[in-house]
């Protein structure tokens, strides 16, 4: 017969039925022999405030003055404490998997496999994204380098940036001040024909596409600036070709050293001609990039 979980034993006990006490679990150390004589006694004295059970006073007395029963209890409690401590320590120190059952482990393994597959897919996605971004960065870098290269070329061509390189330094000594703007312009054109890349006059006037030459009563003007004598033209380009561009018959040298002008021209090659004169880039009023 199963024991009542929380039966109304009060009534049962009054009836003298040993139901809850008698079958008080095999752990209860209750024997049938002990039960049979016990039940009637308890039933009889039940009215007298339950002397059948041990009350608090007796419990405290037994607790302070231990008997054999308590020694047995102590031994059992020792074993129990040992077991609980072992179990708690095992749970705390070991992985939780050793005590799990087959099905749980399989389920867990499945979960982990699915999770790792999902994460691998995510890794592949992210790596593809990274590759895409990387190539984007690369192509952007190439484009920027190309743009920078073109900017450098155009800055030198437009005269907005200093430049250096091998070239020649042409010095025109003109004591009678007879060198004309036309001669100077022709010389510049000849030098351009010979592949001059950067030119400057007296270190102050950068010769660009819009540079103009003229002369007035006081002397020569280039792009609005007065040109003092001696005139020094610094040119970056192939020194040999540039030298030839001024030495040919009918060129600068022959014109200046002619009796009509009576000056001298010296042409010096230099491995490193540095031109620091620049022009300010004007803002275009009409032209826009097409």
């Amino acid at each position: 017969m199963p024991e009542p979980l929380d039966a109304p034993d009060e009534g049962e006990r009054r009836d003298g039925q040993p139901a809850d006490a008698g079958t008080a679990s095999d752990g209860g150390g209750v024997t049938d022999q002990a039960e049979q004589p016990d039940a009637p006694r308890r039933a009889i004295v039940d009215e007298a405030s339950d002397p059948g059970t041990i009350g608090w006073r007796e419990l405290v007395r037994d607790f302070v003055k231990p008997g054999r029963a308590q020694v047995v209890f102590a031994a059992i409690l020792l074993v129990l404490g040992l077991a609980v401590a072992m179990q708690v320590r095992t749970l705390a120190s070991e992985t939780d998997y050793s005590t799990l059952r087959h099905d749980d482990l399989v389920q867990m393994l499945d979960d982990l496999t699915a999770e790792s597959r999902r994460l691998e897919a995510e890794i592949a996605d992210l790596e593809a994204t990274r590759t895409r971004l990387q190539s984007g960065v690369d192509s952007e870098r190439v484009a920027r380098e190309e743009a920078q290269r073109r900017l450098d070329v155009l800055a030198i061509l437009g005269g907005t940036a200093p430049a250096q390189g091998q070239g020649v330094r042409i010095t025109i000594n003109d004591p009678q001040r007879k060198v004309t703007a036309e001669l100077l312009l022709n010389t510049i054109e000849e030098l351009r024909d010979a592949g001059a890349e950067v030119m400057a006059i007296n270190g102050t006037v950068r010769v660009v596409a819009s540079t103009w030459f003229s002369s007035d009563a006081q002397g020569l003007l280039a792009a609005g600036q007065r040109i003092s004598r001696p005139i020094i033209i610094e040119v970056i380009g192939d020194p040999h070709a540039l030298t030839e561009a001024v030495r040919f018959s009918g060129g600068l040298v022959s014109e200046v050293e002619d009796d009509r002008i009576g000056g001298t021209v010296t042409v010096v090659s230099d491995d490193k001609v540095t031109i620091t004169a620049v022009v300010a880039a004007p803002d275009n009023r009409y032209a826009k990039p097409a």
Partner: protein
């Protein structure tokens, strides 16, 4: 008095000596502990009702623990180990509550 001392000594031994159970017996220790708890409550109830017998107590304690472990072991062998251990825990839990109710009535008359 001895009971408390015994419990403390047992816990201390378990903590400091670090005894280990063979791996094969490991899964049955929790069930054995629950069975031991049941036996303890039963024993205390019997003591309160003046029907305590130490020999019966020791034998029933041992057999309870053993039977609980064996039931679960058999369950493991035939593939219903988790269900059987749940069943054992439920049954022992019911018994523990029943015994606790009896102890409560004996001590508090309530």
């Amino acid at each position: 008095m001895f009971a408390i001392v015994g419990l403390i000594i047992g816990i201390a031994l378990g903590i400091y000596l670090e005894p280990t159970l063979p791996a094969g017996l490991q899964p049955y220790l929790p069930i054995a502990i629950v069975a031991a708890l049941d036996a303890l409550f039963g024993g205390f109830r019997a003591y309160l009702e003046r029907t305590f017998d130490d020999k019966v107590f020791v034998v029933s304690f041992s057999s309870n623990v053993l039977i609980a472990a064996v039931i679960v072991w058999i369950g493991d062998q035939i593939g219903v180990g988790s269900q059987l251990s749940t069943a054992v825990v439920v049954v022992l839990g019911i018994r523990i509550f029943t015994n606790a109710a009896a102890i409560r009535r004996a001590l508090f008359h309530a």
